[in-house]
C-alpha cells in the first residue's frame, strides 16, 4: 500500500516547483503507469516512493509519503531496499559490479544476507528469468537489453513487494522491450505492486491497471485500463503522449520484416545522377591474420565480414531511416560511413568528388546517441566555431539562431537540456560543412513533443540539401520524417525502399 498525501516538492537549486499537491494511493498488487511530457514530474513521483527523495535528492518537501506503513522521510534507504526495488532508465550507469553474477547478488550482499541464502536466491532468479546464458559474463560485453534484464534480476533478488521502473525502455530495441514486458508481467502475476514511469506506452497497454497523466507537476488525468486502451492516437496527441497502438502496427510492419527469416535482398531504388554512392563498406571483427602488412578488406571475401555493403546509392537531400535488430550492424555501419573505422576501405562519391580515408571525416558528421561526448568547449558559440576551418562568429550565430538556440550563445553546452545539446551538436555539424549527417538513435527516451521536434528538424536539414541517415528503433520517427528506409540484417542490406 502506497499513500502519497498532499505532497509538494521543489528540487534544491531549481526555480520552478517539481510537484504540486500530489495525492495518490496505490493498492497492493496494482500496476500503475505514470505518463506525461518530460519534466512533468513522473520520475519525481517514483523517487518519492523509493525514498531517493528526501534521502538522496535534496529539496523542499511537504506532505507525507508512506509505503507499507513506513513513513518514507523517517526510513533509511537501506531499510527500504527490500521493500521497494527500482529499475532505472540507463542500463549503462546503474550497475555496480563488473560481472553479471556480482550484479545479481549485489543487493543481497549489501543487506548482509547469509552466503547460502544469496546463492539460493541467485539460482532462483536465474531459473525464473532464464539468465543462465548471461552468467559469468562481463557487464560491459552485454547489449542494452541484456543489461536491463540483469538490472531487473538484481532488484528482484531482494524480493521487494513494490517494483518501480523509471523509463526502463528508453534505450531498448523492440525485442528487448518485449522481454521487459514479459518480466513485468511475471512480477504482476506474483502480486507485486508495480509503478512504471514511461514515454513509450504501447507495450504496457495490456499490463497496466491504472494510468496517471501528469502535467507540470500535477495529476491532470486518471484513466482505468479500459478507458486507457480506448484512447485514440489523436486524443493522446492532445495530451502530448505517444500512441498506444501505432507502434504495434509498425512492429507488425517493420518488426515483421525485420524479424522474419526471409533473406530477400531488395533494393527498390532507381539511381540518380546526384546520388551519394557508397562503395566497399566492409568491416569485420575478426580481421584476417597478417604478418607484416594488414590485409585489405576486399569484395572477394565479403561473405566472411561482419558488415558488407559493396555498392549502394542513396538519394541526396533526403532523410533515410536505418533500421534493424540490435546487433544487425547499424552502429557499425554509421561508424564506417563517417570514417571512424580505420580498417574499413569505404569510398564515397558525393557529387563529382570521390572521398576515402581520413577525408571522409570532413564530409560526414555523426550526432552520437550520447551527445555529451561531443561537446568540448565552454560556450555554445565557441562549440560551433570549433568545427570551422576559419572561425566566423557571424556564421556560427546564424546556425545557432536557425536551430532555435539564440539566447544560449554563451551558455555552457552541458548546462542545456538533452534536446538542446543535440541541437548544438547539429549546429557544429553544419558549421563543419558536412554533407552527410548521421544520427544514432536521436529520439531514445524522448517524449512525443521532443520526438516531433527532432523529426521536423531532420526534415528541415534534408530540405536544406543535407543527406540525413538516422538509425532508430522509433517507428514514430520513421513515419514522421523518413522518406526512405534502409534495413540491415546480419550486416547485409535487407531492403532499401521508399516509405
Amino acid at each position: 500500500m502506497i499513500n502519497i498525501e498532499n505532497v509538494n516538492f521543489r528540487y534544491k537549486g531549481s526555480g520552478e516547483s517539481g510537484l504540486h499537491d500530489i495525492t495518490l494511493n496505490i493498492a497492493d498488487g496494482e500496476t500503475v503507469l505514470l505518463c506525461g511530457a518530460s519534466g512533468c514530474g513522473k520520475t519525481t513521483i517514483t523517487r518519492l516512493v523509493n525514498g531517493l527523495i528526501p534521502h538522496y535528492y535534496k529539496g523542499e518537501l511537504e506532505g507525507t509519503v508512506t509505503v507499507n506503513g513506513r513513513d518514507i522521510a523517517n526510513t533509511e534507504l537501506y531499510e527500504l531496499a527490500s521493500v521497494v526495488g527500482t529499475v532505472f532508465q540507463n542500463p549503462r550507469s546503474q550497475f555496480f559490479a563488473v560481472d553479471t553474477d556480482g550484479e545479481i547478488t549485489f543487493g543481497t550482499e549489501n543487506i548482509g544476507m547469509s552466503p547460502e541464502e544469496i546463492v539460493r536466491r541467485k539460482a532462483d532468479i536465474t531459473e525464473e528469468m532464464g539468465l543462465s546464458p548471461l552468467l559469468g559474463k562481463s557487464l560491459f560485453a552485454l547489449s542494452g537489453g541484456e543489461k536491463q534484464k540483469i538490472a531487473c534480476a538484481s532488484v528482484s533478488a531482494l524480493m521487494p513487494d513494490i517494483m518501480i521502473l523509471d523509463e526502463p525502455s528508453s534505450n531498448l530495441d523492440w525485442k528487448a522491450i518485449d522481454e521487459l514486458k514479459n518480466v513485468i508481467r511475471e512480477w504482476k502475476e506474483k502480486g507485486r505492486t508495480i509503478i512504471i514511469s514511461e514515454h513509450r506506452l504501447w507495450y504496457l497497454k495490456y499490463i497496466v491497471d491504472r494510468v496517471i497523466f501528469l502535467d507540470k507537476g500535477q495529476i491532470a488525468k486518471e484513466w482505468n485500463k479500459a478507458e486507457f486502451s480506448s484512447l485514440t492516437t489523436e486524443k493522446l496527441k492532445e495530451y502530448g503522449l505517444r500512441p498506444i497502438t501505432l507502434e504495434e502496427k509498425y512492429i507488425r510492419e517493420f518488426g515483421g520484416d525485420i524479424f522474419s527469416d526471409t533473406t530477400e535482398n531488395t533494393i527498390q531504388y532507381h539511381t540518380k545522377a546526384d546520388d551519394i554512392r557508397i562503395h566497399d563498406l566492409f568491416f569485420t571483427y575478426t580481421p584476417p591474420k597478417y604478418v607484416v602488412f594488414k590485409k585489405k578488406l576486399t569484395a572477394e571475401n565479403s561473405d566472411d565480414y561482419t558488415l558488407a555493403v559493396s555498392d549502394l546509392s542513396l538519394p541526396a537531400g533526403k532523410v533515410i531511416g536505418l533500421i534493424g535488430k540490435n546487433g544487425a550492424g547499424k552502429s557499425t555501419f554509421l561508424r564506417c560511413l563517417c570514417g571512424l573505422e580505420k580498417d574499413c576501405p569505404v569510398k564515397l562519391t558525393i557529387g563529382d568528388e570521390v572521398v576515402s580515408g581520413k577525408k571522409i571525416l570532413n564530409k560526414c558528421y555523426m550526432v552520437m546517441q550520447d551527445v555529451d561526448h561531443q561537446l568540448f568547449t565552454d560556450s555554445v558559440v565557441s562549440e560551433v566555431m570549433l568545427s570551422m576551418q576559419d572561425e566566423d562568429k557571424e556564421r556560427a550565430e546564424n546556425f545557432i539562431t536557425s536551430l532555435g538556440l539564440s539566447g544560449y550563445e554563451n551558455t555552457h553546452p552541458m548546462a542545456l537540456s538533452g534536446g538542446q545539446k543535440q541541437r548544438v551538436a547539429i549546429a557544429s555539424a553544419l558549421a563543419a560543412d558536412a554533407s552527410l549527417l548521421l544520427f544514432d538513435e536521436p529520439t531514445s527516451g524522448l517524449d512525443h513533443k521532443h520526438m516531433e521536434t527532432v523529426g521536423e528538424l531532420l526534415k528541415r536539414l534534408a530540405v536544406q540539401g543535407r543527406t540525413v541517415i538516422v538509425s532508430t528503433h522509433d517507428p514514430e520517427l520513421i513515419s514522421l520524417c523518413c522518406e526512405y528506409v534502409l534495413c540491415l540484417e546480419k550486416g547485409r542490406i535487407k531492403y532499401f525502399r521508399q516509405v
Binding site: N50, G51, L52, Y56, E76, L77, Y78, L80, A81, V84, G85, T86, F88, N90, R92, S93, Q94, F95, F96, A97, V98, D99, D101, G102, T105, F106, G107, E109, N110, I111, G112, S114, P115, I118, V119, K122, S138, F140, A151, S154, V155, L158, R335, C338, L361, N362, C364, Y365, M368, D370, D372, H373, Q374, L375, F376, L386, S387, M414, S428, A432
Partner: protein, 234 residues
C-alpha cells in the same frame, strides 16, 4: 590441463613476495635463479588457466631481456643505443616478475572474490566499496574515452590544434562530465539496493585455503627466505 584456482589471499601474498624479491638486486647466479623461479610460477599458473598466449609473450619478453643483459651488453658497450638498451633490459629484467604476477592476479581474480577476501582480512567496507567502484570505472572510462576520441576525430581536434593544454582539455572535460553523471546515477541505483546499510556486507563466495594455496604460500616463503639469507645473512 587442470585448473588451479588460488585463494585471492594467496595471490596477494604472491605479489607481496615477488615485489620484495624484485626490489633487492640479484648478483650471483643463485639469486638470479630464485628470481627466475618466482617468475616461472605465475607463468605456469597462467598456463593452467588456459592463458597460453600471454604466458608465451611474457616468457619471451623476459627471456629476451635476460639474454640481452647477460650476453650482449658488456662493459665495453658504450653510446646512446646501449645506454638505452641497458636501461630497458635492466628495468624489464628487474620489474617484469612483479608485472607478470600482477597481471596473473588481475586477470584470474573475480572482483567478487577479491571483495570477499578483503572482508575476510577485515578491511573496512568503505574501502572495499570504493575499490569496487574503481574496478568498475576502469572499463567505463575506457568506453567513454573511446567515444570521446571518435568525436574528436570527427571534428578534427584530436591534436587540439597543436596545443597540449587543449589536447588535455578536450579529452578530460567530456570524460569528467560523463563520469560525474554516471556516478550520480550509479549512486542512486546502489543506495536503492541497500548499499550503505549498517551491517557487515556478505558475499556468496566462501573462501577456503586449499592445498594448492598452502603449497604456493610455502614455496614463496621459502624462496623469499632463501633470498634474504643469501643476500644479507651469509
Amino acid at each position: 590441463m587442470m585448473k588451479i584456482s588460488l585463494d585471492p589471499r594467496t595471490k596477494l601474498f604472491m605479489i607481496f613476495a615477488v615485489s620484495f624479491i624484485v626490489m633487492v638486486n640479484a648478483v650471483t647466479p643463485f639469486e638470479w635463479g630464485i628470481r627466475i623461479a618466482v617468475t616461472l610460477i605465475p607463468i605456469l599458473l597462467m598456463i593452467t588457466e588456459g592463458k597460453y598466449a600471454s604466458a608465451f609473450r611474457f616468457s619471451l619478453l623476459y627471456a629476451a631481456a635476460l639474454i640481452l643483459l647477460k650476453f650482449f651488453i658488456s662493459s665495453e658497450s658504450t653510446g646512446f643505443i646501449s645506454a638505452f638498451l641497458v636501461g630497458y633490459c635492466g628495468i624489464v629484467a628487474q620489474f617484469m616478475p612483479a608485472m607478470i604476477t600482477a597481471w596473473y592476479v588481475i586477470r584470474t581474480t573475480k572482483i567478487g572474490e577479491f571483495m570477499s577476501a578483503m572482508q575476510k582480512m577485515h578491511v573496512p567496507d568503505g574501502i572495499s566499496i570504493s575499490l569496487a567502484v574503481v574496478m568498475r570505472f576502469f572499463p567505463t572510462i575506457k568506453e567513454e574515452y573511446g567515444s570521446i576520441c571518435d568525436a574528436m576525430k570527427m571534428r578534427g581536434i584530436s591534436f587540439g590544434g597543436g596545443k597540449v593544454t587543449k589536447m588535455i582539455e578536450y579529452r578530460m572535460i567530456p570524460l569528467l562530465f560523463s563520469c560525474v553523471s554516471i556516478g550520480e546515477e550509479l549512486s542512486a541505483a546502489a543506495v536503492t539496493r541497500g548499499l550503505g546499510a549498517p551491517v557487515k556486507r556478505s558475499s556468496p563466495y566462501e573462501l577456503r585455503m586449499k592445498a594448492a594455496d598452502i603449497i604456493t604460500i610455502a614455496v614463496f616463503t621459502v624462496f623469499t627466505g632463501l633470498f634474504i639469507t643469501v643476500k644479507y645473512i651469509r
